[in-house]
């Protein structure tokens, strides 16, 4: 059977493929020939010390950071440069930020409706129905008419997840989604993410939450100094880390 042009043939069900991706910030080489393949339905948790390049990796996938070398493909198509095509791709890639980044002048409902109407061209009624269903799913339906500043951090982050889901993305990127939260709000966000993972959403999660990595990840990617040092199952990684760098990192954060 002929293979459609532009599709990856050797990666099976690959959804996101990074090949020899390079990125510099001035003299700092933040991503060094990074190779990573994320399959459809897979939950990949990226961990590592700060400054290891994991956030940059996450942001490069929807081109919030441009890359200096290498290639990123999403669903078989190379990442487009600026313009309409890039906007179209970004709509297919959901992103959740550390600092929530809800639109401050719009209500919670408007935040979740906006992209559906302006990008997906749905009519307002359909978009609002979908938004309310999503807000209900992440447990903030009662806050629909409030403004972001009136919500707690945990609630804001759940709205941000709903906003990303409203675009029906192929893959969700989470860039340290719980790092800016008060401790008592971390779980409510992680629970929503756990549920998403169970429902089969393809996810790339940059996080320091080792509990989440253990329970939800199909694969753990450990990064240090701009490279992927280890890439394995959570059981393997936490039970039997192979690299000295990973053992050192784990000894510093798992102290009970």
């Amino acid at each position: 059977m002929p293979v459609p042009e532009g599709r990856v043939t050797d990666e099976g069900d690959a959804l996101v493929v990074l090949r020899r991706v390079d990125k510099h910030f001035g003299s700092l080489h933040v991503l060094q020939a990074v190779d990573l393949t994320i399959r459809r339905g897979e939950v990949v948790v990226v961990i590592g010390p700060s400054g290891s390049g994991k956030s940059t990796l996450c942001r490069a996938i929807n081109r919030l950071e441009t890359i200096d070398g290498g290639e990123i493909r999403i669903d078989g198509r190379p990442l487009p440069a600026e313009g309409k095509e890039l906007a179209g791709l970004r709509a297919d890639v959901g992103m959740v930020f550390q600092s929530f980044n809800l639109f401050a002048h719009k209500t919670v409902l408007e935040n979740v409706t906006l992209g559906q109407v302006k990008v997906r061209k749905k009519d307002r009624r359909t978009a609002e129905e979908r938004a309310r269903a999503l807000l209900d799913r992440v447990g903030v339906a009662a806050q629909a008419d409030k403004y972001p500043a009136q919500l707690s951090g945990g609630q804001q982050q759940r709205v941000a997840i709903a906003r990303a889901l409203a675009m029906d993305p192929k893959v969700m990127l989470f860039d340290e989604p719980t790092s800016a939260l008060d401790p008592e709000m971390i779980n409510e966000v992680l629970e929503v993410m756990q549920q998403l993972a169970r429902e089969g959403m393809t996810m790339v999660v940059v996080t320091h939450e080792m509990g989440f990595a253990r329970s939800a990840a199909d694969r753990v990617v450990f990064m240090a100094d701009g490279r992927i040092v280890e890439e394995t199952t959570p059981e393997e990684f936490f039970g039997n880390p192979r690299s000295a760098r990973a053992r050192d990192f784990l000894s510093k954060i798992l102290h009970h």
């Binding site: 919030l64 906007a87 791709l89 930020f97 600092s99 639109f103 002048h105 302006k118 990008v119 500043a149």
Partner: protein, 221 residues
């Protein structure tokens, strides 16, 4: 005491001041917003144009600009802005000059407002697939405007007073009438006081109303 006012159309002159202010404010709001969009946009040529425009226009005295619209645009180049009566031509030229000048200040006020919108919201907007113009129109500018209502009120008040420069090309607004009255009447101080009071009547409510509006529309973060 006020019988020296007989025969002068004081209200008519101030009405023209209001009209000059209104049309120039509208024009500079539109053109100033476009300039600001160019200055923060991704196209290098537009950024360069916006920057050059603001730098040049902001540093030329308004009188020079207004006189140029008449001597340069109209009398030399024949630009009459679609009017054929002298008074209409001069009025439109004055609005053009005031708009060109005030836009530079609107642009800069707005740009400082744009800088108050967290970069993260712009990234979030782009991450859900909004284009640059959509991001600017839906996410950035609404918040930018709300944060600069106060500074824009200052620009509007300055504009109201700057309309007096239109007297230089014979637009019959308040300042031209004042000059005429000072030449013909003996009540110098009283005439000045009347016109000063007239301008305060125009600008004071502007400042108060927009100040209240600024507090009302402020974006909570």
């Amino acid at each position: 005491m006020f019988d020296f006012l007989d025969g002068y159309d004081l209200l008519g002159a101030f009405w023209l001041t209001v009209q000059l202010t209104f049309w120039s404010a509208l024009g500079s709001l539109v053109w100033g917003t476009l300039l600001a969009a160019m200055r923060v946009g991704p196209v290098p040529l537009m950024r360069a144009f916006g920057t050059a425009y603001v730098t040049i226009v902001r540093n030329i005295p308004l009188t020079v600009i207004i006189v140029f619209t008449s001597l340069g645009l109209f009398q030399t180049l024949g630009v009459s802005l679609g009017a054929d009566r002298f008074t209409t031509i001069n009025f439109r030229l004055a609005v053009l000059g005031l708009t060109a000048y005030t836009s530079a200040f609107v642009c800069e006020a707005l740009r400082s407002g744009i800088n108050t919108v967290p970069l993260g919201q712009v990234e979030a907007a782009r991450a859900i697939g909004l284009s640059f113009p959509q991001t600017l129109r839906i996410v950035v500018l609404p918040q930018a405007f709300r944060s600069v209502v106060g500074p824009l009120a200052n620009v509007l008040i300055a504009l109201t007073k700057n309309t007096t420069v239109a007297a230089a090309i014979g637009v019959a607004e308040a300042a031209l009438l004042m000059r005429e009255m000072i030449e013909n009447e003996a009540q110098l101080i009283l005439i000045s006081a009347i016109f000063a009071f007239g301008f305060i009547c125009l600008t004071l409510p502007t400042g108060l109303l927009l100040g209240r509006l600024a507090r009302k529309v402020a974006v909570k973060r």
